[in-house]
């Protein structure tokens, strides 16, 4: 399992990407993260909800009460326009980050071969 320290800066991006596919609620999102990553990354409950809180505060997502099912009423989240813009920015940032980090990772690998 991936260390949460490394991935922290991209938790918001992960959640936004899942919300792009449609509105969702807490457990469904955490289940999807687990499924997409083949259980290599499990987001803790509190990490997920602090991300929701942060994203909502910044206006990137909106929450609303869903339909009541089996006497349970869940909070659903929806991505906003500015959330989509933010998501794109983060994707570009990651492209750049990946390039930069890869340079160092590769060099290290090369020097190890000699």
């Amino acid at each position: 399992m991936i260390s949460s320290d490394v991935i922290r800066g991209y938790n918001d991006t992960i959640i936004l990407s899942l919300l792009l596919e449609g509105d969702s609620y807490g457990y469904e999102i955490s289940k999807n993260i687990r499924a997409v990553t083949d259980e290599q990354y499990v987001m803790k409950e509190t990490t997920l909800y602090s991300a929701f809180s942060r994203l909502e505060k910044n206006g990137y997502i909106e929450s609303y009460y869903g339909e009541e099912t089996q006497g349970k009423r869940r909070t659903y989240f929806r991505i906003t326009q500015s959330g989509m813009t933010y998501y794109k920015e983060k994707c570009e940032e990651w492209g750049l980050t990946k390039k930069v980090i890869n340079k160092f990772v590769k060099e290290l690998k090369d020097s190890g071969d000699h």
Binding site: G26, Y27, K31, K44, E45, T46, T47, Y49
Partner: protein, 322 residues
């Protein structure tokens, strides 16, 4: 499922009960519930499912920080105690209360021995060759020989617990996870303590019977009865202190049952009065013994002080709580 519910309940115990928090808590519960049911469907055992759900909960402080929620007790000001430290404190407390109980028991046993030897000397059964002065001084020496190791035990326990003084003073906050575990264990510990208390009280109630039986056989036998009574009380006190220590440690850590900050102040006043009253009782006991040679009866000062002091602290608590 109950475990998950109480886990979450404990996590939220110290938080202000606002609508926002209620909603968050409900949301988290629904998620955990759904995860639990899915794990069960996958064929996980109940324990496994609960374990996974709780281990994937994360750290509540992370969430609170993001949401700008402070807990009711100022967790930033006080040092936080985690489960490991709490366990260490409990273990040490159980050891030291055993030693303190032993020390108090030794002193009571010493007083009993003093009365026994004095009575035997008076009945000319021992120390026959000694002068009358030595006859009455020698038993006192035995008492002091027992007080010395007892005081040693008290000091040893005191220095061992010095590190955890801040827990006694209540200036700490308990980590949420530790709180959950301790709360769960508390009921087991309390029932153990009440069992000890029942046995101790039974011994105390039965102890005067020794005097009644003794007095049937004459005056000097009633003194021997007092010896038996004191030994029984020594055993009872040992049980009270050694079993009470562990549950006291739990209650101090959880700040319940007289260890919440409000009651803590009250205890300080009572403690201060106790600090004056009990040494005074010891002085009167020794004075009457040495000066008037009243060793046989002067011990009565202790139960009298005990009853009066108990009355005082009860009255003080009642007046204060009003």
């Amino acid at each position: 499922m109950e475990t998950i519910k109480s886990y979450l309940e404990n996590m939220f115990r110290n938080l202000p009960q606002t609508e926002e928090i209620q909603r968050l808590r409900n949301e988290l519960f629904l998620n955990m519930e759904e995860k639990y049911h899915e794990l069960k469907k996958e064929g996980k055992l109940d324990n496994e499912a609960v374990g996974i759900v709780i281990s994937e909960f994360g750290n509540i402080d992370e969430l609170l920080e993001e949401m700008n929620i402070g807990t009711i007790d100022n967790r930033d000001v006080y040092p936080t105690i985690n489960l490991e430290e709490a366990k260490e404190f409990i273990l040490l407390k159980s050891k030291t209360s055993y030693l303190v109980g032993l020390g108090v028991g030794l002193i009571l046993f010493g007083v009993s021995l003093l009365i026994l030897l004095t009575q035997l000397a008076e009945d000319d059964l021992i120390f026959r060759t000694l002068s009358s002065n030595a006859k009455y001084t020698l038993p006192v020496i035995f008492l002091f020989l027992l007080i010395v190791p007892a005081v040693g035990l008290f000091i040893y326990s005191g220095t061992k617990l010095e590190r955890f003084k801040f827990i006694d003073e209540g200036v700490f906050s308990l980590a949420s996870a530790a709180k959950v575990v301790l709360n769960k264990e508390l009921s087991h510990v309390s029932s153990k303590q009440s069992f000890g208390t029942i046995i101790g009280v039974c011994i105390c109630v039965l102890s005067p019977v020794a005097i009644f039986i003794g007095s049937l056989f004459g005056d000097s036998f009633s003194a021997y009865g007092v010896c038996v009574l004191l030994i029984m009380i020594a055993i009872a006190v040992f049980i009270f202190i050694s079993t009470g220590g562990v549950s006291e440690a739990y209650k101090k850590l959880l700040k319940i049952d007289g260890f919440d900050p409000e009651r803590q102040k009250e205890n300080k006043v009572i403690g201060a009065v106790a600090g004056v009253v009990w040494p005074m009782a010891v002085c009167i006991f020794l004075f009457c013994g040495f000066v008037f040679n009243l060793w046989r009866i002067s011990w009565i000062i202790f139960p009298i002080t005990g009853v009066l002091f108990g009355g005082f602290s009860a009255c003080y608590s009642i007046i204060k709580s009003k």
